[in-house]
Amino acid sequence: MKISNVLNTKAPKATIKKSGMSSLGIRNTRWLSFPYILWMVGFIIIPLIVILYYGMTTNDKQFTLENISSILNPINLRALLFALRLSLISTVICLILAYPLAMILNKSKMKSNSFIVMIIILPMWMNFLLRTIAWQNILERTGIINTVLKFFNLPMLNIINTPSAIVLGMVYNFLPFMVLPIYNVLIKIDKDIVNAARDLGANSRQTLFKIILPLSLPGVISGITMVFVPSLTTFVISNILGGSKIVLIGNVIEQQFRIGNWHTGSGLSLVLMIFILISMAILSKYDKESEGSNLW
């Protein structure tokens, strides 16, 4: 009896010693992050400091706030406000389109969710510029939609080179980034949570608004960020579908760099980063636990 007692009390201690070995393992894994840390500092942090430097200096390396305040120039300000408006509209449309889709996909019997994810991101394997150019084909005066409309003697649809075409391009390009985060959150909601709500008397609408929607909020927030930021800052979509007359803040910045005006371009980029930072702050508030895994 005594012997077995001694053995029993010793046994857990032995395992504690073993997990001590795993802390040795942890010390051993720390060096694995060194290449990444070096890379992050060199190519993420320092570039941001460089852009800050350029944005706040003149050609003669003098400190200035002029680059940043050039956002108040009416042309630039209008471009920013217009970009804000279009990206907000696109984000809302994406949300309205994506949420029901994510819910249907979640409900579908197709349990291989990697297949669903594949279907949604597969279009990305066709070059994004080409896909956007294809919309020119669809929307043009002599494009597919108008050919069909003409055939039925219906009025022409003239949205190419208008803000509507840009919004369409944004929704088209960034919709997957709204669908996937929402879908990823929805599939993680325990079916019994939904059952519990039904059990406590909630009908399907009440269950949606009181349980599913609040629980999927982190995914919605991720989706909003993933759509809003690229829409706000795009210059390609507006270039291809908006013609030369519509100028968004992204076009202004790209133009500044094209004509060699790097300091002004950097200053305007800093202004743009304020909006990005706000989005990131909101995201990190809701996305604490998943550590970014809702994004993909």
Binding site: M1, D190, D192, I193, N195, A196, A197, R198, D199, L200, G201, A202, N203, Q206, K210, I211, P214, L215, L217
Partner: protein, 358 residues
């Protein structure tokens, strides 16, 4: 417990693909009863509960509640509430909001709801937890909240799906007492699903032992333990010696070649039967004083008693006793006639299959 049938399950059949989970199950639950569905995983007990709760539709059969057919009724319209296996608390809502969920949907007044929250938290011994969030609670506390959330709706029946499965042993035992107390205070029907036979024996008025979609036995805990109707029940509930035997005549059975007196009648003459003897019902005596002789082959100390194996007449008899017999010593085996339980050999193929699996 009254004799009124509250829920009546009639010919319930359910299958997933080729897998038949429930096969023409018939079962009634009385008002104010603590009924436990007990069985190994995959026996259909959880499916039965989910059909009562309305989360699954049976392929065939009816669920009758207070005389009305509710088979097709949505879960939110049924007058019963469920405590889910992994609690299924709403993590985005506070404890108070979780408990108030059902009441708010029924549009109860704020005063009424606040009263109910207080009452329910007191009932589950968690006063003052109103503003905590579910994920800041321990497993046992979350379990109590899940119960509180269900009972504030004053259901006629509370369905509990392995509610103690995720808790550690000590907590599980404490919660067993809590549940019995709750049941008595609330005076409602509990339908309880578990695979833990000790839980079932401790708490239930009635135990329904299930296996492979069939009900094996329905009875009080004492019935189930003392008079198992077949080898599956005998083996699943507690430990036992199941011995192939021949019923010589009324009150006399031949076990492994030796005649034992028993109290059972009506099995006929010279009929093959199974005999169940619980290990604690075997007395080890001096070799000459026993009905048969054997040799102790192993000995384990189990705390409350010793567990011994005695080899006698080609069978290893499992014996629980507070008296110790050394390994290798010769002993006599003595069994009181009242402790010999006779069971019919399984007839249907399904039951046969069960026996083979053991």
């Amino acid at each position: 417990m009254t004799d009124n049938k509250l829920i009546d399950l009639v010919n319930i059949t359910k299958s997933y693909g080729d897998n038949i989970v429930l096969d023409e199950l018939n079962l009634y639950i009385r008002e104010n009863e603590f009924l436990t569905l007990l069985g190994p995983s995959g026996c259909g007990k959880t499916t039965t509960l989910r059909i009562i709760g309305g989360f699954e539709n049976p392929d065939q059969g009816q669920v009758i509640f207070e005389g009305k057919d509710i088979t097709k009724m949505a879960p939110n319209e049924r007058q019963l509430n469920t405590v889910f296996q992994k609690y299924a608390l709403f993590n985005h809502l506070s404890i108070a909001e979780n408990i108030a969920f059902g009441l708010k949907i029924k549009k109860k007044s704020k005063v009424y709801i606040d009263d109910k929250i207080k009452y329910a938290l007191k009932l589950v011994n968690l006063d003052g937890f109103e503003n905590r969030m579910p994920d800041s609670l321990s497993g046992g506390q979350q379990q109590r909240i899940a119960i509180a959330r269900a009972i504030v709706n004053e259901p006629k029946v509370l369905l509990l799906d392995e509610p103690l499965g995720a808790l550690d042993l000590k907590l599980r035992q404490d919660m067993q007492y809590e549940l019995i107390r709750l049941k008595n205070e609330l005076g409602i029907t509990f339908i309880y699903v578990t695979h833990d036979q000790e839980e079932a024996l401790t708490m239930s008025d009635t135990i329904v032992v299930m296996n492979q979609g069939y009900i094996q036995q329905i009875g009080t805990p004492e019935d189930i333990y003392n008079e198992p109707q077949n080898a599956f029940v005998a083996d699943f509930i507690g430990e036992s010696n199941i011995l192939p035997s021949i019923m010589i005549e009324d009150k006399l059975v031949n076990i492994l070649g030796t005649n034992f007196a028993c109290v059972d009648t009506g099995f006929g003459r010279n009929k093959p039967v199974d005999v169940v003897i619980r290990p604690e019902d075997i007395d080890l005596v001096k070799p000459d004083e026993g009905t048969i002789k054997g040799v102790v082959t192993s000995l384990l100390f189990k705390g409350v008693h010793y567990e011994m194996e005695v080899s006698a007449h080609g069978h290893d008899w499992l014996v629980h006793s507070t008296d110790l017999a050394a390994v290798g010593s010769e002993v006599g085996i003595l069994v009181d006639p009242f402790d010999i339980q006779i069971m019919n050999k399984p007839e249907s193929e399904d039951e046969e299959a069960v026996e083979l699996e053991m």
